[in-house]
Symmetry: C2
Subunit: 217 residues, 2 copies
């Protein structure tokens, strides 16, 4: 049985939960509470599983191989399990989907992570207003670029790439969820909003949502 | 002819230059100066090529398809061009290499980017000492995790994965180059230092270095 080290609010874990649900793969959630006791992800126990001390990590059964990094996990699931492919088959299409996913996962999300917001507050002593402005700045920069990438391309369909959900949608939905939780307006991103609505109508995306997780507060 | 929109000091462009050289693919450099005139990457001309306003971008000939995001570009090059594979063939090995690459490209580099350091200085008004501490903090966190991922795995060889250079090495070398440029000590990362030395002995890595680029200052 696959085991997913997860935290209900982690955007990166949320991506993998969507992918697991889209592919119809059963798994067990191993909760790693990012706030309790200074953060369980920093404990020696979890660091033995993932030296980065970040969620998610995927383990293929007790004592099995551990895979870290949400995008690497999703591509692994896609390569190891046929059915409901999360990437297209042509090299250019695959590059487009990966670029959309990475525009979120490399250029937007890492800047608004829990550990970064904490550093801003505790180490740099910025005000809450400055922290919120930082958050909103990177969301606006990131989502406006993704909006343009989606709006200008004939490859965009009901979902980020064509008419089936895939890797890029797995990244976009949790990012938009986060942005909304922090009160960032989404009115300037009509293509993103339309695609996210399509995704949220699907059971796989619904099951993966933070409030549906066993460790939800 | 492949065209690479590049800036000599861009860590992400440097990754792609290494990959192009490892695969023996000829290309033309289209310089995008990230500092001149407020940054050529923000101009309408370049934004028509890449809405993210970031380098690198790869274009497959005049008017050809544009691919953005360094990791997506490298995987595209690997899929579209046989010879000198940059990822292993087994799913677990591929996941490990991608995770190492993403530990740099998603969790370390984005925090120490030019645009982020500028925001810290100009928008948050942090001191140079605070900016340097921020930089060193994320380098230490990121490289110590990568060191442990490499040191504990029997899959680590002369290079990050086995005895041939690949995607993970394409990411590691520019990150270490940057860390050294900013004066971060590397003594705690013996495996990383050993692998980087192996890489730097290869002509492909030497050709891709910042000071060898046509746009080097």
């Amino acid at each position: 049985m696959l085991q997913l080290y997860s935290y209900f609010r982690s955007s990166a874990a949320y991506r993998v939960r969507i992918a697991l649900a889209l592919k119809g793969l059963p798994y067990e959630t191993v909760p790693v509470h990012l706030l309790a006791g200074g953060g369980q992800q920093h404990g020696a126990g979890y660091r033995a599983t993932n030296p980065q001390g970040l969620v998610p990590a995927l383990q293929d059964g007790e004592g099995g191989a551990v895979i870290t990094q949400s995008l690497a996990i999703i591509e692994y699931l896609d390569e190891a399990h046929a059915g409901a492919p999360l990437l297209p088959t042509d090299a250019l299409g695959r590059a487009r989907v990966r670029a959309l996913a990475q525009a979120v996962a490399c250029d937007l999300h890492p800047l608004n992570n829990l550990r970064v917001l904490r550093y801003l507050k505790h180490d740099l002593g910025v005000s809450d207003a400055q922290k919120d402005a930082w958050y909103a700045h990177w969301v606006a920069l990131g989502l406006s670029a993704v909006e343009e990438m989606l709006a200008r391309s004939p490859d965009t369909g009901r979902f980020c790439h064509g008419d089936a959900p895939g890797l890029a949608d797995c990244c976009l939905v949790p990012q938009v969820f986060n942005a909304q939780r922090f009160g960032c307006p989404l009115g300037d991103y009509p293509t993103i909003a339309r695609i996210v609505a399509e995704c949220e109508a699907l059971p796989a995306f619904q099951q993966a949502a933070p409030d549906r997780q066993p460790d939800a507060a």
